[in-house]
Amino acid sequence: MGVGYRLLPMILPAAMPRGAWPYVATLLTQVGAWGLFLAFLAGGGWVPAFAPIAAGGVGVFLGQVAWMARHRRPAPTDMPRPDLSLAHAIQALGYLALSTAMGPYLAFAPPSETTLRLAMVYGTLALVGFLSQMVVGVAGRLLPLYGWLLGFAARRYEETPPSLHRAPARTLQALVLGLWTLGGCRRSPQASQPTGRR
């Protein structure tokens, strides 16, 4: 989330959120995360008290993402369309919204075989669907920038390298997006199935 506040405006591109809401999101998320950590250490009795706080922090962040989407800025003219890094980011945020919705439910629902399976789905959505995919999406935008800076330095800062937006191989990017979409979709619902044959 912290990285998202800086990098999502660059990826979209969009205006950077200002004002109190980013602080509200940070405070709620930190209080919720620390509370959940300590509550789990203490046996889990206080988990229902902190899960909504953490979910609220993530919810405020997602609200800020929606604000960014409404305050777009012009994209670079040589940026290929569609922007596949943005597709990763959108997909990752969708997984974050799903996992955020599941978290409080799991905190309040009585433990059962179903909630155990849903907990696996929850973890997969958050770690693979959101976190890992956001890294992949952001890397698709940051690595060309890194390469461009290396190229500029290699040219002794006298000549600019080619456009960083045209540097990635579109076929490879599309394959990565497709495979990540297939793998993420498959893992998430599958973990909720009962053991044995589907």
């Binding site: 390469g147 190229g151 000549e159 540097a167 990017q173 793998g183 973990a191 044995g196 044959r197 589907r198």
Partner: protein, 51 residues
């Protein structure tokens, strides 16, 4: 996704393994893309040309 689901055996472990393999290949391809980016931006052009 439906093709993956239908093509693979229907048991849960195989599907999860298939999904994990897809993600692993995606990560490898992402690494390959990084190499492409570096080659295009860093090595192309008058790199290392001495005056």
């Amino acid at each position: 996704m439906p093709a993956l689901a239908a093509g693979f055996a229907t048991d849960r472990t195989t599907l999860i393994a298939g999904a994990a393999a897809a993600l692993a290949v995606a990560v490898v391809l992402q690494g390959a893309n990084l190499v492409v980016v570096l080659v295009r931006l860093w090595r192309r052009g008058p790199v290392g040309v001495e005056g």
